[in-house]
């Protein structure tokens, strides 16, 4: 019944997508999922002091790129954090 009358869109598909992305980062890099989740949580914690964002939307990506100094391939960690608004520190 809840499903028929519920007005908000369910999002377990989105949850699956996010869990998978994290899983594949750790599979491909060989570092443990706990470590990556730890980085994500601490990043979110620090950033939340300055900006307002949905912690569920933080996306971590591990890619291979060419180093600027040498032409070696190195791993690069990037985070995408959709910001709702900057926290106005002076008002607090």
């Amino acid at each position: 019944m809840r499903r028929i009358f519920c007005f908000h869109k369910s999002n377990s598909g989105k949850i699956a997508t996010n869990r998978l992305k994290l899983m594949l980062i750790s599979d491909q890099s060989g570092c443990s999922p706990g470590l990556i989740e730890g980085i994500r949580e601490e990043l979110a914690e620090v950033l939340s002091r300055y900006v307002e964002f949905d912690s569920g939307q933080v996306e971590l990506c591990l890619t291979r790129m060419e180093s600027v100094e040498s032409s070696e391939m190195i791993s690069a960690l990037s985070a995408i954090i959709p910001i709702r608004r900057f926290t106005n520190m002076r008002n607090e």
Partner: protein, 263 residues
């Protein structure tokens, strides 16, 4: 020009064998001389899905060990003039064959066939190594589930490491009603996660169960899954076919309830 294609997935139960049966039958229907090889030694299944289980005399291991000639082991499907099956052995295991022997076997078949399809066992051990040894091309089957996609990613990595010339993805058992209400990953979500070409998506269709029960591939029926498989066959042969609209005709009430859910 003959092509050797392995159908693989990593995870079991995502529909490799059903996919092999339907794509093989579809390619035969399109006029290509096609042979299906069941490489799952010890867990023979493709013959059952094809409805050819009562016609097995010799098998893959017999051919490799020289107990019979290739022609004696190949089962001709009487319903489709271009279709043949090389069944697996049920009482042996994966170590009965090695990758070198599989390469030789597929090379021998290339003289007589346009398409050689290999149904790969689940897992990444010797059975997988045997199945991919002679293949030029791989079709990775997955379902829109976390575990299946994770395994598909691993398999794609292994195929690339083995220098597979071409790797395409088939998203099986997709349910558009669940995608619409946000409870299943969409084809685009899967494409985004696995950076690989999607050659087709097959809807979760009750007709698949019926066709497997009967041992008759559904690729030549007008079911939605049957059409999806036939489109994949056309794409394999190089024809450009647009993606099938997987949304069946729906009544006004259902569409209204969808609209309310989305609001």
């Amino acid at each position: 020009m003959s092509e050797v294609i392995v159908i693989t997935s990593g995870k079991g139960g995502v529909g490799k064998t059903t996919t092999t049966a339907n794509i093989g039958t579809g390619l035969a229907l399109l006029g290509f001389r096609t042979v299906l090889i069941d490489t799952d030694i010890g867990l023979r299944n493709l013959d059952v899905v094809m409805g050819l289980e009562n016609r097995i005399i010799y098998n893959l291991v017999d051919v490799v060990e020289g107990n019979c000639r290739m022609k004696q082991a190949l089962i001709k499907d009487k319903r489709y003039p271009n279709l043949y099956l090389l069944p697996s052995a049920q009482t042996r295991d994966k170590t009965a064959v090695n990758p070198g022997q599989m390469r030789k076997l597929t090379e021998d078949l290339q003289e007589d066939f346009d398409y050689i399809l290999l149904d790969c066992p689940a897992g990444i051990e010797q059975g997988f190594q045997n199945a991919i040894a002679g293949a030029d091309r791989a079709l990775v089957v997955t379902t829109p589930e976390v575990s299946a996609i994770r395994d598909a990613d691993r398999i794609i990595g292994l195929l690339e490491a083995a220098d597979m010339q071409s790797v395409d993805l088939i998203v099986n058992r997709i349910r558009m009603d669940m995608v619409r209400r946000g409870d299943m990953m969409s084809i685009d979500d899967v494409a985004d996660i696995l950076a690989v070409n999607i050659i087709g998506a097959v809807p979760d269709d009750e007709d698949i169960v019926v066709s497997t029960n009967q041992g008759e591939p559904l690729v030549d029926t007008d079911s939605l899954a049957g059409q999806a498989f036939l489109n994949i066959c056309k794409r394999i042969s190089g024809e450009a076919v647009p993606l099938l609209d997987l949304n069946p005709q729906r009544g006004l009430l259902l569409r209204l309830s969808d609209f309310l859910k989305r609001a």
